[in-house]
C-alpha cells in the first residue's frame, strides 16, 4: 500500500515538473520531449489508480501517435536557432505574470476543494472488458459523436490534400 502511494506521488511529481518544463521551453522539440514524459507519467498515475486500460491507451494514442504528429510538424518546419530566439522574444518573463496569477487562483481553489475530500491514491482495478461495455453501453452516443468528429477531420484532410495532389499531377503532365 505504502509503495503505491510513494509511486503515485513520484509519478505525479514527474508529471507536474515535466508539464511545467514543456510549457516554458523555447525549443519546440525539447518542449515535446517533456510533453511525452508528462504523458508517460500520467499513464503511470492512471495505472496506479486501477485504470490499466486507460493507462495503455494514454501511451499508445497520446504519446505514441498524437505527439509523433506534433514532432512531425516540428521536423517539417525544421525550426532552427532563429525560431528559438523569436520564441524567447515573444515570451519575455513579464508575459508569465498574468497567466501565473490567474492559474494560482485556480490552484488555490482546487486545493481547497481537494482538501475536503478523501485523497484517492489507489482505486479498484477496472478490466478492459468493463471499459468496453461502458463505452458501447451508456456512452455509445459520445463514442459516435467522437467518431463523427474524426470523420469530419478525415474529410477535411482529404479535401486539402486532393487539391495539392491535383496541382502536382498537372505539374507533372
Amino acid at each position: 500500500m505504502s509503495l503505491e502511494i510513494v509511486l503515485f506521488y513520484l509519478a505525479a511529481l514527474v508529471a507536474l515538473a515535466a508539464t511545467g518544463l514543456a510549457v516554458t521551453r523555447t525549443n519546440a522539440s525539447h518542449a515535446l520531449i517533456y510533453l511525452i514524459i508528462s504523458l508517460l507519467a500520467v499513464a503511470v498515475v492512471f495505472y496506479l489508480l486501477g485504470a490499466a486500460f486507460a493507462a495503455a491507451l494514454e501511451v499508445v494514442i497520446y504519446a505514441g501517435a498524437i505527439v509523433v504528429f506534433f514532432l512531425f510538424v516540428v521536423m517539417m518546419l525544421n525550426l532552427g536557432r532563429s525560431a528559438e530566439e523569436q520564441e524567447r522574444r515573444w515570451l519575455p518573463p513579464k508575459m508569465w505574470i498574468g497567466p501565473g496569477v490567474l492559474s494560482a487562483v485556480l490552484l488555490l481553489e482546487m486545493i481547497a476543494l481537494i482538501a475536503g475530500s478523501d485523497a484517492a491514491t489507489s482505486g479498484t482495478p477496472v478490466p478492459p472488458k468493463a471499459v468496453g461495455i461502458e463505452l458501447f453501453g451508456p456512452y455509445l452516443l459520445a463514442v459516435e459523436l467522437a467518431s463523427l468528429l474524426l470523420l469530419a477531420g478525415l474529410v477535411g484532410a482529404f479535401h486539402l490534400g486532393r487539391r495539392y495532389m491535383r496541382a502536382r499531377r498537372e505539374e507533372i503532365e
Binding site: 525549443n27 525539447h30 495503455a56 501517435a65 478492459p128
Partner: protein, 319 residues
C-alpha cells in the same frame, strides 16, 4: 512469491534478449552470406561466432563523435529510447507457462505502447542530428511507423476477440485446440508486414535507405551509439518474432517431448530466420508505394477481418 519470481526473471530476460540480439547480428550476416552464395564472417572463433565480440570491441574503442552542430542531449537520448523501449516490451513476453516478468492483463497494449515509444528514438535521432539526410530519414520513419502501427493494433484485435483477453499468457492458453494463425490468417499476414515496417527492416528500411539517404536517421551516429541503435533494431526483430509466435503460433505450446521454453525459442528462431530471408529476397519498394500499400490495401483487409471475426464471435455466443 509472485513478485519474487518477477524480480528473478528480470535479469535472465534482459541478459537473454541482449545476448540474442548481439548474436543475431552475426547470425544474420552468416545466413545472408549462405543465401547469397558466399561464406559470411567465418574467421573469428568457431564458425565466426566470436565476430560479435570483435565488433563490440571495435565499436567501444572507436571515437564516439557527437557532431558539434547537433542537439547534444537529444542526440544521446535517442539511441537509449530505441533500445530501452524494445527492452521494456520484453517485460510482458511469456517465455513459458508462468515465465514472464510482468503478467499484465493489458499485455498486448503494453507491447504496442512500448514499440511506439521506440519510434521516438528514430524521430528524435533524425531531428537532433541536424543533417538533411537524417531529417528525411526520421520523417519517413515517423510516417511509416505511425501508419503501420494502426494496422498492427487492428490486426491484433481479431486474436483478442477470439481469446477474449489482452493478457498474452491467456492468449497462448486459448490456442490449445488450434493456433490462431488458421482462423486469423489475414490478421497474421498484416501483423507480419506491419512488424517488418515497425522494426524498419528490409524491405521496409526506407528510413535508412542507403542508396538515397546515406544512412538515414543514424547517418551522424558513430561508435557505441550506433551499436545501440543496431541492438535496438535486432531486439525489435526478436520481439516481433516472439509476438508472432505468441499471438498466432501457440507460444510455448507444443508436443511434450521438449520443455515449453524450448518450443518457444525454436518457433521464435524460425521467424527470425524468416525476417532475414525476406531481407535477402525482396527489393525495397518506393516510399509512396509503401504508404499506399498500407492505407489502400492493408487497412481495408484488417477492417474486413475484424468485422468478420466480430460477427462470427457474436454468432457463436448466440447474442
Amino acid at each position: 512469491m509472485e513478485l519474487d519470481l518477477a524480480f528473478i526473471m528480470i535479469a535472465p530476460v534482459l541478459g537473454g534478449a541482449l545476448a540474442s540480439a548481439a548474436l543475431l547480428i552475426w547470425w544474420e550476416r552468416r545466413l545472408l552470406g549462405f543465401w547469397q552464395d558466399r561464406l559470411g564472417p567465418n574467421r573469428v572463433g568457431p564458425f565466426g561466432l566470436l565476430q560479435i565480440v570483435a565488433d563490440v570491441v571495435k565499436l567501444l574503442t572507436k571515437h564516439d563523435w557527437v557532431p558539434p552542430f547537433s542537439d547534444r542531449v537529444v542526440f544521446t537520448l535517442a539511441p537509449c529510447a530505441i533500445a530501452g523501449g524494445m527492452l521494456m516490451a520484453f517485460a510482458v513476453v511469456p517465455f513459458g507457462p508462468g515465465l514472464v516478468v510482468g503478467d499484465l492483463n493489458i499485455g498486448v497494449l503494453f507491447f504496442l505502447a512500448m514499440t511506439s515509444v521506440a519510434v521516438y528514438g528514430v524521430l528524435l535521432g533524425g531531428l537532433a542530428s541536424n543533417n538533411k539526410y537524417a531529417l528525411i530519414g526520421g520523417l519517413r520513419s515517423g510516417a511509416q511507423m505511425v501508419t503501420y502501427e494502426v494496422f498492427m493494433g487492428l490486426s491484433l484485435m481479431g486474436v483478442v476477440l477470439l481469446s477474449g483477453s489482452f493478457n498474452l499468457s491467456d492468449i497462448v492458453r486459448a490456442q490449445e485446440d488450434v493456433w490462431f494463425v488458421f482462423p486469423q490468417a489475414l490478421g497474421f499476414i498484416v501483423f507480419l508486414i506491419a512488424g517488418l515496417a515497425e522494426t524498419h527492416r528490409l524491405p521496409f528500411d526506407l528510413p535508412e535507405a542507403e542508396h538515397e539517404l546515406a544512412a538515414g536517421f543514424h547517418t551522424e551516429y558513430s561508435s557505441m551509439k550506433f551499436g545501440l541503435i543496431m541492438v535496438g533494431e535486432y531486439l525489435g526483430v526478436i520481439l516481433t518474432s516472439a509476438m508472432v509466435v505468441i499471438l498466432f503460433f501457440g507460444g510455448w505450446l507444443g508436443p511434450g517431448f521438449l520443455p515449453p521454453i524450448v518450443w518457444f525459442s525454436l518457433k521464435t528462431a524460425f521467424f527470425v530466420c524468416g525476417f532475414i530471408l525476406l531481407r535477402a529476397a525482396i527489393p525495397r519498394p518506393r516510399y509512396d508505394q509503401l504508404m499506399s500499400l498500407g492505407w489502400k490495401i492493408l487497412l481495408p483487409i484488417t477492417l474486413v477481418n475484424l468485422l468478420a471475426t466480430g460477427a462470427i464471435a457474436l454468432l457463436r455466443t448466440g447474442a
